[in-house]
Subunit: 278 residues, 2 copies
Amino acid sequence: MELWYTEKQTPNVGITCKTISTLVVEKTNYQELAIIDTVQYGRMLVLNGMVQTTVKDEFVYHEMITHIPLFTHPNPKTVAVIGGGDGGTVREALKHPSVEKVYLVEIDERVVENSKRYLPEISCGLSDPRCEVLFQDGIEFIAQHENSFDVVLVDSTEPIGPATGLFSKDFYSSIYRALKEDGLFVAQTESPFFNAELIRSVYASIKQIFPVTRLYLASIPTYPSGLWSFTLGSKRYDPLEVDEEKILEIDTKYYSPEIHKSVFKLPRFVKNLLESCE
Amino acid sequence: MELWYTEKQTPNVGITCKTISTLVVEKTNYQELAIIDTVQYGRMLVLNGMVQTTVKDEFVYHEMITHIPLFTHPNPKTVAVIGGGDGGTVREALKHPSVEKVYLVEIDERVVENSKRYLPEISCGLSDPRCEVLFQDGIEFIAQHENSFDVVLVDSTEPIGPATGLFSKDFYSSIYRALKEDGLFVAQTESPFFNAELIRSVYASIKQIFPVTRLYLASIPTYPSGLWSFTLGSKRYDPLEVDEEKILEIDTKYYSPEIHKSVFKLPRFVKNLLESCE
């Protein structure tokens, strides 16, 4: 007997994966959570029926949401990760020797607990002494801070359910206040093929608040359309002005100094999308 | 009642699309052919159970297999497309004012006939007076020519069935002879996530024959993993030495002069794959 996990990524298209076993299915206080072991991608974390991360392709998302901003800031010491309870973003942030403290602010304790138990390759950074895990609403956490962080990474689910507010202009203004005077932030901002309106709206909002606003792309097989966007807002540093020669060598599979700037070179339909925000 | 078309892209992962109707299902002399109308991607051409092209995302593949080589050659006049019976690559090649002649060499007449009837947006170039359609084995066609083409585009199916020989070193040697003294060629070379061994083998073969060998990437939602590779072999011109300022403006949705070089900047795992061929 073959069991396949099929996810509707939009109402009209989906991904289907042959499974080995279903390890967890539970309803937390915030969402439905599952951990499924698949042949192609290894174990995957699914929230509200959407794949969040898989053991085999998580490196793309976690490296790309982390190293672009952390190598754009010349000396990031204090980092806040909003969402990201699987721990992959924390693991990547801790590869930067300048980083002294990473706050992981996850609303759903069960995401962290299940990730620690079933996804140790991803969650390993959560037990590092530099990491502090807080089970709190990310919007509330950011609102409670001022002039506090060098980098904020918004590692959220889709803009439905608890994550909706993480895609609002008010939240980006709140991040602006929570960042130090030369701070910057990145948010995951969905697929340019499927979420053009969302990207346009987020980019326009961030651009009204931050002097430097940039969008970059990465290829993530298990995410809808396979092409994913990240939007960066920065008070001072521009990722396109980084001297790649000076980027430290760290252990990565997707990110490299060589692609640090090229990921901002956008296919024409994506560039046109952003130009309509000018 | 909802009907979904589900394709196993590997034995363990697939894509599934909600359909509107199935327009064609037939067994040709060479393969099984279907044209299915889907909600997300419009009409799609399926050969041997693999999506070849869809109305909504075909622009990525067809622009990227064509414009990178045609803007690398300073004056491409004679182009041969091997495979590509849907006509999308021909349509893109004809956007280059220097192009005087495009040979479309498709082994399966039924691909062309069905594409003309059901995929007019894609096949429109096939009726252009500069295009000559030949129903012939591409390997045979290339072997019959010497010093004939400025650019050859290998727009093949997966390396199974009739296309197997199109991924062989003998074929690349044959293309070398068929090209003019400053000619170049590109082949579609599958997904770096799923076909690492194939890419390594093709890249190593081409590198043994052509002085300039380069691999580049594009994001194609309906292809396995969503990330696709193209490998270029050139006798003289290097895509990385093109002056982007001088690239002609043509109507595209993915390709632009701005991404002409950045698509050669590879994620580390892809770069490592190629370095193992050095």
